[in-house]
Amino acid sequence: MRVPLHWLREYVDIDDISSGELAERLSHTGSAVDFVERFAPGVSGVVVGRVLEVADVPESEKLVISKIDVGEHGSLTILAGAKNFVADDRVAVARVGATVTTMDGPLAARPMVGGKYTSQGMLCSAHELGIGDDHAGILVLDPEAPIGADVADLLGLGSDVFEFEIYPNRPDQMSILGIAREVAVLYGRALRMPDTSVVEEGPKATDRTSVEIEDTEGCPRYLARVIEGVTFATSPALVRARLSACGVRPLGNLIDATNYVLLLTGQPLHAFDLDKLAEERIVVRSARAGEKLTTLDGQDRLLDTEDLVIADGVDAQALAGIMGGGQSEVGPGTERVLLESAHFQPVSIARTSRRHHLRSEASARFERGSDPEMVPDAAAIAVELMRRWAGGVVAQGSVDEGRAPERRRLSLRIERIPKILGIAVDKGEVSTILSGLGCEVTEVGERLDLTAPSWRPDLEREIDVVEEVARLHGYEKIPAVLTHGARGGRSVHQMLRERTRDALLGAGLSEATLSTFISRDDIDAIGYEGEVVEVSNPMTEDQRQLRPSLFPGLLSAAQRNVAHGVSSVRLFEFGKIFRGWPKDAALPDETEHVAFVLHGELNEHWSLPARMPDALDAVGLIDLVLDELGIEGRTLGGDPASLFHPGRAANVILGEQMVGRFGELRPSVARAFDLKSPVVVGGLSLEPLFSAAPDDLTVRPLPTQPPVLRDISMWLSDEVSAGDVAETIRSAAGPFLESVHVLDEYRADDGRRSLAFGLRFRAPDRTLRAEDADEARQAVVIAVMERHRAEIR
């Protein structure tokens, strides 16, 4: 909502308040001023002149030469390029040295020579003053405009305009009067209400038309006024200036009158050409099945039977409270006007507006709740403006069907104020605040009984009133006091997540946060064939799916990094993934995962050879995380998913449950993400993973006896895994084996694989003899030979 201060000050005195202070005060009391800007700031030195004479320039088809009285500066001779003005008209004169606005910016008026004539300035068009598109004709001002007066002052050019952010609960602020009322309360000043008297010299309105409301719930009140004998023309310059300052295009007097009053009072109005209404009457009803309407924006709309329409005796002529129809539009040629001022139910307007994706100044107000008692006043103001601007005769009275809802009554317990705000506010001040807002206030002991003003649909409950007291008393007057809860802290799950995060950061991976939305192509690229959850209204088609895996996002991020010249990509992400809907569940299957990607040459230090990552890096990262979480006994197994290289990937299993998977990508999958192999990814599902983390840790006593070490090297065929051999060693090595680990892997020239294991023996209560260790090693040798056909080296 744009509010020109030049207009606002007609209703409340603000001349002694700077616009900066006013904006600050309003913002601090709930009327948020988004920004302040000056309207048509480029105009200066332009004065009102009276045309003394005007004559064609004989040498030119276009030019006229005029003599203009500009008051104390005498009279000027001015050439003009338009012929739409006559002697005695008031015009805007830019004397030499004045500036006006043009499409290319400000323009200074200079003496101009046309043939043998010299122009001592220029006559301005509306466009040159910044108040409309009209630049063909000279702007003719109000006949009462004082000669010599500054045009900018007269029209409010260069005056500050406040842009307010309107909250959904404050429709009353969507008007000049509403803001004026707020200012009046804040500064304790009088609010001047606009004049609502009408010169009515025509027949009775009820003799000219009738109104029938079929849907009294959707339309509690409908009032029509009639004016006849009007002439459609441009509006006075001041009106056009104000509409322009508010961002509304001037469209001609009959339409401008409705818009002007809408901006002034917040009550939307609509002007119908009465001659175009079948049977010259109004029916407020629901649209009929299949009914169509062409709205003023030129759209043909198929109506829904839940849409409320304003119809004549036959057809729908307007989408009630939202937009009129082109068929009964007023315009040049209109002689008789039916002016609508009505109250509509917010929900009905909101639904229709949403259904047709159609918003207007009117619907914005009706869907938040308009003032039902403003209906007759707004109509009176507007019809009188039409009479003044367009001539004609106003019919007596109005056709007024339905009625305004009762004003709401509510109570405020004074003790609720400190209970909510923490401070007491004096009962007298509370009463003053609420009366200023338009409430009728009755004091009943420690309670105030209130009747809410008709323009404040948001005042329904006690708490709504407490809020009014808080904002007008001033939030800044409420001191800050710290309070605290009882037992705070992270949950076990949250702490384990932090531990996992720190482990991965410490392992040289950076944490990414990536999009939840993902394209179908990316889902297909990783070979995911399970259920997917989709958004029904995505912004673009490639954001329709919710990610069923963290891998595609990480792979795309890796690709982008490579494209930017990052040679080594090591990223991880924590995030939610979505996999279809469990039967009858209210929400989709949503689980939290962590995943990582490794790609590109890993160059730990210049003194070490760079190397490519492989699946063992993934094993190491997974084991690092498990270690940090205190989880032991993981196994690898199952068939890797199709995105993986089948020989370089595995699932991570704890007990019977799969908690994750990792491996190198199948080259074709890497290529789908524009990545060169090898690409290593891995992921873990947090819920099952964290549930395996132990609650306790008990320290083992430090060994008192020395260990005995033995090595075994053996040739193995490629089918035999190191893990299986280690398992065999553990089972065969007897009670003194403390640990076994891989020492070395070696491939001979003929491709044979050799593994060396280190065994550590220890007895808890005595020094182990060399013979004991040798005996155990011999048992191991026999076992690996038997079980794995190992050939001891």
Partner: protein, 353 residues
């Protein structure tokens, strides 16, 4: 004085002279061998032959011999230490490593700015007794809107353009949460006060992705419900948030605003980190809107089964993306969701204040 004692004195003089003159550990080894060696040294010979001496002499020669032996050991040890020290100094005088070469830094990842900001705010609230509550990103309409006093036709719904999900037949249409407030609903529906929680998480708004904001955001909301909580406590708690999010010295103020689920409601504004409050093109007259807050609307308590006459409470919510962008001068919101290492690696030394 016996002849033998005289010989011992002579040996002492010889040996001490030799020790003093020695310049290497090898020489000292040779001297040790010569004067104290078990087999060939004259001193050991004397001590071995002592039993053949008369008793009188035994009493003198024995102790004298032993004393000489101990004294020579001590002299040798002193000299040895002296020579070792000298040779160490000589070595250190020339041994050098070029410390301007790159060090062997262990690999380390870069933290995520969103997560770091959240963790800092979480820690601040843990410090004043809050728990951290989380909930699903896909939500029901009830939890996201209706229980928060925002029925289907409420005008506030149009302020939050919502992503809806293709939901199986027979199930009310689910959506992607537009704020983390549904977590508050879940908390209030599952427990009675006192409640002190903060709710960090990812939220979604169906908006065009621009330099300043995307369709995916991260929020932290807070909720306190207890007996006797007032707007004063809201203001005190907001100060904790502001310091954690923006660092000490940031000015903050609350100005009236509107949210369907709080009343009175306020917008949190902080002094602009770019101009410091004097006004620039990043802010409105020196202030930047950084979130909303207010006293929990009694309707919300009623929807969640909490007695609004007995309990009061406050709630607040802030966008973490905006905090990170303002605090670290992030020029484009899309960087936060990019996984771009050139961006992330700049957060290694992220300030703790």
């Amino acid at each position: 004085m016996s002849e033998v004692v005289g010989e011992l004195e002579q040996l002492r003089a010889e040996a001490e002279t030799a020790i003093a003159a020695a310049t290497s550990l090898a020489e000292l080894d040779e001297i040790q061998n010569r004067y104290l060696g078990r087999k060939q040294s004259r001193l050991k010979e004397i001590l071995r032959d002592i039993r053949e001496l008369p008793n009188e002499e035994k009493r003198v020669v024995g102790p004298a011999g032993n004393r000489l032996s101990q004294d020579l050991e001590a002299s040798l040890a002193l000299k040895r230490a002296e020579i070792e020290r000298a040779s160490e100094e000589e070595l250190l005088a020339t041994d050098r490593i070029d410390l301007t070469m790159p060090g062997r830094t262990p690999l380390r990842g870069a933290p995520n700015p969103l997560r770091e900001v959240m963790r800092k705010i979480e820690d601040a609230f843990i410090g004043i007794g809050y728990k951290i509550a989380e909930g699903p990103e896909a939500e029901t309409d009830w939890n996201n809107f209706e229980a928060l006093n925002t029925p289907p036709d409420h005008p506030a719904r149009s302020l939050m353009d919502t992503y809806y999900l293709d939901t199986p037949d027979g199930i009310p249409q689910a959506l992607l949460r537009t704020h983390t407030s549904p977590v508050q609903v879940r908390v209030m529906e599952s427990q009675q006060p006192p409640i002190y929680v903060i709710c960090p998480g990812r939220v979604f708004r169906r908006e065009d992705i621009t330099v300043t904001s995307g369709a995916i955001f991260h929020q932290i909301e807070g909720l306190a419900v207890d007996e006797g909580l007032t707007f004063q406590h809201l203001r005190g708690t907001i100060e904790v948030y502001v310091e954690a999010a923006f660092g000490p010295g940031t000015k903050a103020r609350l100005v009236p605003s509107f949210y369907p689920f709080t009343e009175p409601s306020a917008e949190l504004q902080v002094s602009c980190p770019v101009c410091g409050g004097s006004g620039c093109n990043h802010c409105a007259q020196g202030w930047i809107g950084m979130g909303g807050c207010g006293m929990v609307d009694p309707n919300v308590f009623t929807f969640c089964g909490i007695d609004p006459e007995r309990y009061t409470g406050f709630a607040f919510g802030m966008g973490i993306d905006r905090v990170a962008m303002k605090r670290f001068g992030v020029p484009d919101s899309r960087l936060l969701l990019s996984g771009d290492l050139r961006f992330l690696e700049q957060f290694r030394g992220i300030p703790v204040r």
